[in-house]
């Protein structure tokens, strides 16, 4: 039973924390891996997220679902990791990693069928804006619907649609180096 608002339990229930970790750590790892694009960094981020969860578990009041609460902590932590990483690693070589993606793939559909293209696509998610990456990961990898994503991201359902729409367009640009004709260009 959740404690009433304003009277958090001082000591988190260890068994409760373990259950929460078992349930949510794989999902948070998935999000971290897609947002950061690196297994070691993702593992480190998951630990940071669950340190916070462990510290704050006693203050969880059940205003939102446990999943929403943990995802919000995760998103804040992951955005902070990405900021730190961009300060540390923003280099020409890193930028070249994206710019050197082949753009000679004329038959985009055929290219996407290849496994390596899927891997490139997955890596490109980490190049999206944090909000686009979160929306794309929650929708495609975790199977959340618009309403859940909107709740987790503390935004409107309409904004989730826009994030997914823009995220797909940005992924296409990152993957092929090409920009589809905008309506204005037609």
């Amino acid at each position: 039973m959740n404690p009433p608002a304003g009277t958090p339990r001082d000591v988190p229930d260890d068994a409760g924390f373990r259950a929460v970790f078992r349930e949510y750590a794989p999902r948070i790892y998935q999000l971290a891996y897609r947002m950061l694009g690196d297994a070691d960094e993702a593992a480190e981020a998951v630990q940071d997220v669950f340190l916070i969860v462990h510290r704050k578990l006693g203050t969880f009041r059940g205003d939102s679902s446990m999943a929403t609460w943990i995802y919000r902590i995760a998103i804040n932590t992951l955005v902070s990791h990405r900021r730190k990483r961009s300060r540390k690693h923003l280099s020409l070589a890193d930028a070249e990693g994206v710019m050197s993606l082949p753009d000679e793939e004329v038959d985009v559909e055929a290219a996407y069928e290849r496994k390596e293209t899927h891997e490139r696509l997955a890596r490109c998610i980490s190049r999206l804006s944090p909000r686009e990456a979160v929306a794309i990961t929650l929708f495609y990898m975790d199977g959340y619907d618009y309403k859940d994503i909107a709740s987790i991201m503390e935004t409107s359902v309409g904004a989730v649609g826009v994030l997914l729409h823009r995220g797909r367009e940005h992924l296409h640009v990152l993957l092929t180096g090409k920009k589809e004709d905008r309506p204005d260009d037609v």
């Binding site: 996407y112 899927h118 649609g161 797909r168």
Partner: protein, 138 residues
């Protein structure tokens, strides 16, 4: 239907938010607008690719993470080899050493009493060591 409207409708359709009213308009628009037809092929492929990305599996080493932060949950450490040997040998070595030390430095009466005390201590230690639960990972 404008290109902008078509693209918004197409993305909504990809997300399972179909609008039958818009569908016919969208089909008509795509049939006459090469740019939007190309857009639909490209973004549709991105959507298909995203649906096929396999889940990233969490490393097994992370499963032990709660053990490192939950107070009192840390697994007991196995004693080192030296500590285990000392624990085993101490009860056997203490009585003869005690007798030897007592004979060197103390009058016989005191030496005898101290030897008895230390030998008893050694036996008690041996008993305690035998009764202690063995380390287990479970």
């Amino acid at each position: 239907m404008t290109c902008e409207e078509y693209r918004a409708a197409f993305n909504a359709w990809l997300d399972g938010r179909k609008s039958e009213a818009l569908a016919e308009d969208a089909r008509r628009h795509a049939a006459t607008c090469a740019a939007c037809a190309g857009y639909a092929a490209a973004i549709g492929s991105i959507d298909a690719g995203l649906r096929q990305i396999p889940a990233a599996e969490m490393p097994g080493s992370l499963l032990a993470f709660p053990d490192t932060i939950v107070p009192g949950a840390r697994a007991p450490r196995a004693p080192g080899r030296l500590a285990a040997a000392a624990r085993f040998l101490a009860p056997a070595l203490v009585p003869p050493l005690a007798v030897w030390a007592a004979g060197l430095f103390l009058p016989p009466a005191w030496g005898g009493a101290l030897s008895f005390l230390l030998a008893t201590t050694g036996l008690v230690m041996f008993g305690v060591a035998s009764l202690r639960p063995k380390f287990s990972n479970s």
